[in-house]
């Protein structure tokens, strides 16, 4: 591996660029300079922290540690899904729906990838398992958040159309079928777009990272293809599950539209 290690000075030069941008933002009164600096500091602190955690996990390979870190990542992702909703579901549902869908899709897909495709010994080798799960969660999270947002917002906007169908004796799921389909599509579009544009418009981040770190380009490409497929499957299944759960929660046992189950 002909990897060039970065020094603190190297990073400082890059940080200087962000600082210049922040000063420019001040001059132009963009009102984002403060956020920009805070975000830059958060990136540094959070990533360093993760670096130390990864180092610990790489040095102490144990299924228990891996399970714990996976659950923590999942819970953070679940919270993120909820916080991206304009009107999340009330109560535990808001957090639970996204988290359960993510758990079902990402954990199953990641397990298949680790045990069948990559097949390392042990299969939970952190060097593979953590980045894989991280990428799966990150993308699935986006898909689920988009799908649920579309579902709940469309249900609020199209309340009269939905209820018109209920009045004619349609079931809740019949009445929301168009919206449900559209929401699932919404959640899947980003990954479809990024698969279609991969390599032409942008070099995917993971592949770029591997190449920077010295991997042969074709090896990096194969991993990137694998990741893309896994992400597509994880995001797709996760979005379908979340939208199905979400659309069921919008109706009660008497097939009434229950927008009061969403937060205002």
């Amino acid at each position: 591996m002909n990897m060039i290690s970065l020094s603190a000075l190297d990073l400082s030069i890059a940080a200087l660029l962000v600082l210049v941008l922040a000063i420019l933002g001040l001059k132009l009164q963009l009102g984002v300079s403060r956020q920009l600096i805070i975000a830059a500091i958060r990136t540094t602190v959070q990533l360093l922290l993760v670096g130390y955690i990864l180092k610990f996990l790489f040095d102490n390979v144990h299924l228990g540690y891996m399970a714990a870190i996976s659950v923590i990542m999942l819970l953070f992702a679940g919270r993120e899904v909820m916080s991206r909703q304009t009107n999340p579901y009330k109560g535990l549902w808001g957090f639970g729906m996204g988290t359960v869908s993510m758990f079902l899709s990402t954990f199953i897909v990641t397990l298949v990838a680790l045990t069948v495709i990559i097949n390392n010994d042990p299969w939970y080798t952190p060097q593979y398992a953590i980045p894989l799960l991280g990428m799966m969660l990150g993308n699935t999270m986006t898909g689920i958040a988009l799908g649920l947002e579309r579902l709940t917002q469309a249900a609020r906007e199209q309340r009269q159309k939905i209820e018109a169908r209920l009045m004619l004796g349609h079931s809740g799921q019949q009445a929301i079928t168009n919206i449900r389909r559209e929401s699932m599509r919404y959640g899947m579009i980003p990954i479809i777009n990024s698969m279609a544009a991969a390599g032409l418009v942008s070099l995917p981040g993971m592949m770029t990272g591997q190449i920077l770190a010295g991997s042969p380009p074709l090896e990096a490409v194969k991993y990137q293809i694998l990741i893309m497929f896994l992400i597509a499957a994880g995001t797709g299944f996760g979005t379908v599950i979340a939208v199905v759960l979400g659309s069921r929660r919008l109706f009660d046992e008497r097939e009434r539209l229950r927008l009061d189950r969403l937060r205002k």
Binding site: K161, E163, A164, L166, M167, L168, G169, N178, E255
Partner: protein
Amino acid sequence: MTSLRVEDVGNNWLPAKVSLEVAAGECVVISGPSGVGKSLLLRAIADLDEHQGKVRLDDALYTDMPATEWRKKVGLLTADSAWWGEHVAEHMHEIPVEQLVELGFTKDVMKWSVDRLSTGEKQRLAILRVLANQPSILLLDEPTANLDPDSVEKVENLLLNYCRNKPAGLIWVSHDIVQVERIADRRYHFDENGLSEVKA
């Protein structure tokens, strides 16, 4: 021959508990100040909103059947209709040719885009849409409010004929005093104190 019995129906939005009865072939009119909850009462009877109290079709309690079946038997028509599909045909299973002609349409209307319909046309088609379910009870929330006088007469005739011939019970919310005189078999007044029957 199915009659509707409403007993002590109430919820957070209704001003008082409501009881009333409608027999098959009977047209009952409810009037009263706007904003008091007439529409909400009809929504509760159609089981679209949560409510307390009992609503029965003959001896069958509303919870004895799935909500979908209940709403096919107890049809609700709101003052402005909503259309979810692109064309009229998507909203009706069969084409009620006779009724279409009666309300001044031709069969072609089924191919029309919903966007092209005027408010009045939408309202008349919404009536045919709900009648297609052959409901035993019709809850009508100011069904002729947006119609021109000629259409009002046609719609009244159509609905009253349906009421007598099926026979079906009608609960008709109306503000129009002259209309009430024309259509009502019995009349109720609905205000903050609740529902009370108006004796002729």
